[in-house]
Symmetry: D2
Subunit: 246 residues, 4 copies
């Protein structure tokens, strides 16, 4: 592969992260970030073995130093290449609990990865995306994974809604600030359960096919967003299974 560009996926574990990494690896070398190697190792190996190029870096996006050190490693390792796409897909462990059983650590446990982490990640990714604007085939893109809770606070979802709403607000702000400079910032509301090993048992018995989102289908739409012409940028897209109530 002789691309002059690369992509970075933060939150590269099983599900959307892995599928997006595989999809973008068809066009670009890909950097996978996750808190622990367990989350990215097998995908990195798979890409490298099938003729692509991938690197994994253990990173805690809610820690500004960890993000800085990851991007130092990236620009050293991929020196000469430019950043065409940055995907923020970090997910939090979410606790579905009555509000009065939560404590402030639960609040932080959502806001840190879901919003503060995006803030840190964007601080490092956007300058690199801006550098790619004059040369890249597709407009340099920051894609942000959202969820139902990004647009609505529900009972028992206060902490996740706080973190994901903040995340969406950051995405909107960045789209409005950096769109005119040629960087495409888009936010995807993934409204439903994704079909990954962890969710294998969900809806197992209801007999409805395609009841859970295919991570590859999500990745196809992410790739499409990346390839949109700058005269027709999407800022927000939703995706949900055809049978999902909404």
């Amino acid at each position: 592969m002789s691309s002059k560009f690369y992509a970075v996926v933060a939150g590269a574990g099983p599900g959307t992260g892995r599928a997006v990494a595989l999809r973008f690896a068809k066009a670009y070398p890909v950097v996978l970030l996750a808190r622990t190697p367990d989350s990215y190792q097998s995908t990195v190996a798979e890409i490298n073995q099938s003729g692509g190029r991938a690197i994994g870096i253990s990173t805690d996006t809610s820690d500004v130093k960890s993000v800085a050190s990851a991007f130092e490693a990236i620009t050293k390792e991929l020196s000469g290449l430019k950043l065409a796409a940055a995907i923020y897909n970090v997910g939090s462990g979410y606790k579905r609990k009555p509000f009065l059983e939560l404590d402030v650590e639960d609040f932080d446990a959502s806001v840190n990865p879901n919003a503060r982490g995006l803030f840190n990640f964007a601080q490092k990714a956007i300058p690199l995306l801006l550098e790619a604007v004059p040369e890249s085939e597709h407009p340099p893109t920051l894609l942000i994974t959202g969820a139902t809770a990004s647009a609505r606070g529900s009972a028992l979802f206060s902490t996740i809604a706080a973190g994901m709403s903040a995340r969406r607000a950051i995405g909107q702000s960045l789209a409005r600030e950096f769109g005119p400079k040629g960087v495409h910032v888009a936010h995807a509301i993934i409204d439903g359960v994704i079909d990954i090993p962890r969710t294998a048992a969900f809806f197992a018995d209801d007999g409805v096919e395609d009841r859970k989102l295919s991570a590859n289908a999500i990745a196809d739409s992410y790739w499409h967003l990346h390839t949109q012409h700058r005269s027709a940028f999407t800022q927000e897209i939703d995706m949900r299974p055809y049978v999902e109530k909404f």
Copy 2:
């Protein structure tokens, strides 16, 4: 072309309608509906001459009989084929006027094509899309073109906002009713000026490239929506030029 499926584009005039017809004609025979042949003739000819298949039918979608007669002609002409995609792109002549200078004919002139027409069109298209569910490669799709006024009523935009908001509401209702039956209903908010002959003079002097939406770029996203897997349907997407204020 040996497709077993076809597409129908209502509002097939210059701009989005024509571009979408050309894009879908790469995969399907395409039916172009517009009030007068002027709007579709050259596109029909272009598709037929370049190896595709196209038919044009003069139709006033706000007239239930006209729509019925168009679909009769379609099912006769394309007998044996099934409907894979129906695009509602009919646009109204919009009068930007202070509210107190409008009269009720201006209200009707927006609501009839923008909302009543979609109602009539969907009444005929959805049964055909449902028939295609078991066989079509991509989920049968009803795509609806919206605008800024679909989501917001602004000063001097009361009539267009009324019609376009009603249109969006119909789209949401249909998505919720027919999604679970396998028909994908999506609404696109096109937020900005489309680059067509009629808008050639808009922003002519500001020196900003790609200031107006490329109709082909819109058509690419419509095609992507059509190809989405049913586990990850998008209901609403926005598109706007990178420099657009929003």
Copy 3:
């Protein structure tokens, strides 16, 4: 009562219309509009007998001539008074039916009263509200009753969602055009069942108190909206029973 101002309530039947008329009658002479005298007669009598002043006029707001003739009668009858508040509360008979069992008459049956009627009513009311701006104690107000379907199209709700979304869009447009001229335009999303004779059987057995909206409670909030200072106008408010899912 020696008020120099009056109020007009369109859609003055049992429920919100009647309660709003009674509430505003404490401060102003009130005109009640409804399609038939049955809807307003008893409320008019009640107001007149208890020391207030009320007039009823049979009006079909979706008919521009009927609205014109009502406002002619009003300005003759209440000559010398100015319009302080106009409330649009006309409701449609709504048919909850699968989309493919509807026909275009069902579409019209929603859009005509819900949106076209507001258009007609506002055409006549706004010039009168503008005249009251310099003198009225509270900013002259146009209040519009909305519903769940005003903000969301649900399965089986396509026609009502079309009409109510159009109505809300008109309200937003008018707020943005006439707010700066001193007329307060507000829209209330009433999300739930109102406690009126027609709904007596709804939830009859669930044992939950105050399960249905009190029309008087709605009227209290309408009156509050009317009295808001022009430096702090509300454009949209929602109201729902404490136990309502949303």
Copy 4:
């Protein structure tokens, strides 16, 4: 004053906080929370001197211990009284800066007071509000002050939008969880500049009267929200000057 209930206002400085405290003090003893006595002292004195009852407590709502200690002091000081209304009005110092000139401390400086502080405050206030449900004249109420940035991320507003969107999401979650238990949770989007000493110079020369929100007008609407019947709770209200663009 012999009320069996009291109110607490967090963020009781000049502007909305002070005005709300004065308004609620007409009915209840009021507790004013602010980071420093400067913010509440004069209002506390004013209330006590004019026949009401007020207490001020220095509190940093983003610090869980500070909030706990404030509520300990409150329940000791006002022992025997129940909490009828809790208002969260804490505002952050907002830095309007290009995204790439911010750092993560700016993110925290918004999220801590705007969202984490509400989380902490609600953890302590809601159990007290629930206790008041069976007895209070008006449904016990948690009122949350929002802003334009609560519903929209704009260029240069990324951090404030993150914090305020998270705050709104918490409010929605609490409304849905505690509404059915009788506690009214409402969020007010204050869209515009409030007329306080700090903003005296804003729009000073444009000659438009009432160009800035009157804090007393906001307080009137907060009081109205507090008095709403539980069959007709408002969850969200917006307020803006009549001349505000939106």
